[in-house]
Point group: C2
Chain length 130, copies 2
DNA sequence: AGCGCCGATTCCGTTGCGGTAACCGGGGGT
DNA sequence: ACCCCCGGTTACCGCAACGGAATCGGCGCT
């Protein structure tokens, strides 16, 4: 069964990595579309298939994921490779240009770990001056 | 006339700094709302008045600027100080928390200077495969 | 024949950001 | 009396993003 082919598939994606309650949902940064940043995270350890991306991004519908990937492909951030097999297999991978965004995402994450609690606290304090 | 009071007002804002044709309009990053990043840039050298912010951000209407500033105030990124004078004067300034975002903006700008041309080129190449 | 897999695409509806235009209020100038 | 200044607010609107549900197409399995 283990069709471990030549694809240097990285570890399976953690289904919980982009849980809707994850603070990253509230982060005041965005790279491109709403999901682009998460897609980059999913691809940073190697190519992934469409259905594979849907696991951790289960909040995204196939339509939106498809749109996101197409836009990223247009911008030269990812490559799309379709294998003429059955069932069809399509792999997405980061381009070198796409990889240059990873440090930005790291910086955003670091900022969030450090300062997001303060921001959320301020928002809560201001939200209910009652 | 020079009512140079104790306000350590920085150099006047460059009216052209956020020209609509500026590449920053196409940058695939955003900090908070559409205008938040630019507001931070305007405030990084010292407090500014509402009307003063409108100069370089002449593309933004008072409503949206007001909304942006209010949201940033809620999030603890800027402070709002109203002086009971005539004509009314209101000053906005970055909080320490707001200042922590400046390195992020710097990183985004650096990325853009380095890689944005490649992204735009890819987009152009893909946009017209005719 | 019928079902399922994978990778989408199409139609349709909602939401909300962002934009336009108009107005307000109070003092001061002329 | 009128208008201007400043710093907004309010009402209205359009568009693009986002989302849900359904469908497609080729193939293999049963």
């Amino acid at each position: 069964m283990t069709d471990a082919t030549a694809h240097d598939r990285a570890a399976p994606l953690d289904p919980g990595m982009f849980h809707p309650l994850c603070p990253s949902s509230a982060v005041p940064f965005r790279v491109g579309d709403k999901w682009s940043g998460m897609v980059i995270r999913c691809l940073q350890d190697g190519p992934r298939r469409f259905g594979e991306l849907r696991v951790p991004l289960r909040a995204v519908t196939p339509k939106v994921l498809s749109e996101t990937l197409r836009a990223m492909e247009r911008d030269g951030l990812v490559t799309r490779t379709a294998y003429d097999e059955n069932p069809p297999r399509v792999e997405y991978a980061l381009t070198p240009l796409g990889r240059t965004l990873i440090p930005l995402l790291d910086a955003a994450r670091t900022w969030s770990e450090t300062h997001l609690p303060a921001l959320l606290a301020a928002r809560r304090a201001a939200g209910r001056p009652a």
